[in-house]
Amino acid sequence: MANDEAGRVSRFRPREEDRLAIEACQRGEREAFDVLVERYQRDVYRLCYRYVNNHHDASDLAQDVFLKAYRAIGRFRGDSAFPTWLYRIAVNTCLNFRASRHRPSEELKDDVVDAGPRVDDRMEDDELSQQVREAVSRLPEKQRATLILKVYNDLTHEEVAAILGSTVGTVKANLFHALGNLRKAMAGTAPAGRRLAPDAKKTGES
């Protein structure tokens, strides 16, 4: 099944195509998994990219996510939507990867300090994009996961809570903390009051 125009899955509504593909996989029809890969590979790749900030690792991680999903799909019972289940695998895979590659000191604490001199307003958008990505990647784990899933994967608070094994209230609070920390981390670099149009620079993301 093709993704929508933006190449993403906007909500986790039950999909007949997913169910049929999953059941075929569970019968041992390996080719059926390709339907799920085609449908979700962009979302999984982008989620992974948010964690590692480079194409090479994101690509490897996304492949690993699908391999793990395939190996476990025999136990998928549909208690949650397939993408919820898949995203949970993706988040765990990314967290394990980061745990093996990064030191905790690289992460921002809850109370980050303003950093560095402010650059002028001529800063290119791609520079700002890189800085925001890096700031996001340095947020504490739960805040980062919450922000990525909610803001970039366009999930509802309920869906994020299901993926992270949390509550809706906690998800909202973590998202608010994440935005506060992002604001502090970017205070020294982003132009004052700069507000980019939410959809102006997106390339197929929510």
């Binding site: 982008r46 194409h55 492949q63 990505r133 609070a173």
Partner: protein, 185 residues
Amino acid sequence: MWTHLSDDVLMDMVEGAAGDKAERHVAACASCRARVDEARTALGWTAAATVPEPIPSYWDVMRRRVAQSLVEAPAAWSRRPLWAAAAAAAAGAALIAVVVIGPGKAPVPPRATPAASLPAWSPLPPNDEDPALPILELVVAPTVAAATPAAFCSDVSECVGGLSDEESGELADALRAQLAAGRTL
């Protein structure tokens, strides 16, 4: 007493989903208003953090890579019938029972002198005199017979030893369930 809004309600404010009461509070509270404004500013920045889009042909490459990885590492659950995993689980439970419960119930012959050096784990050679085997057979045989006429897993040691990581996980779950239920032989 003046109480500021909780963070989850402030997030509702950022998203425009808070109720009238919260909005009235924010309108009157400079501290909460400042926090909401900061969060909205940060939310605006997040839109700038786009992920570079791979070239269009990349997605086909990725699908092929995934498909190839599935061929090289097929799903553990598809390699063996379910009854075999159940039999393996039962066999594993019997092994645990022998180790944990069994010493007082079954005669154990004197141990042979161990080899000078053994690796941390290695498959043991078949030993027809192993006292655990009759117990394993008692557990496994009915399961196998009930599941299929084909003796796929007649050799318990082969069945257990050949488990994948996935099946080992299932085996561990089954063992925990049986031990939690107080099952004994």
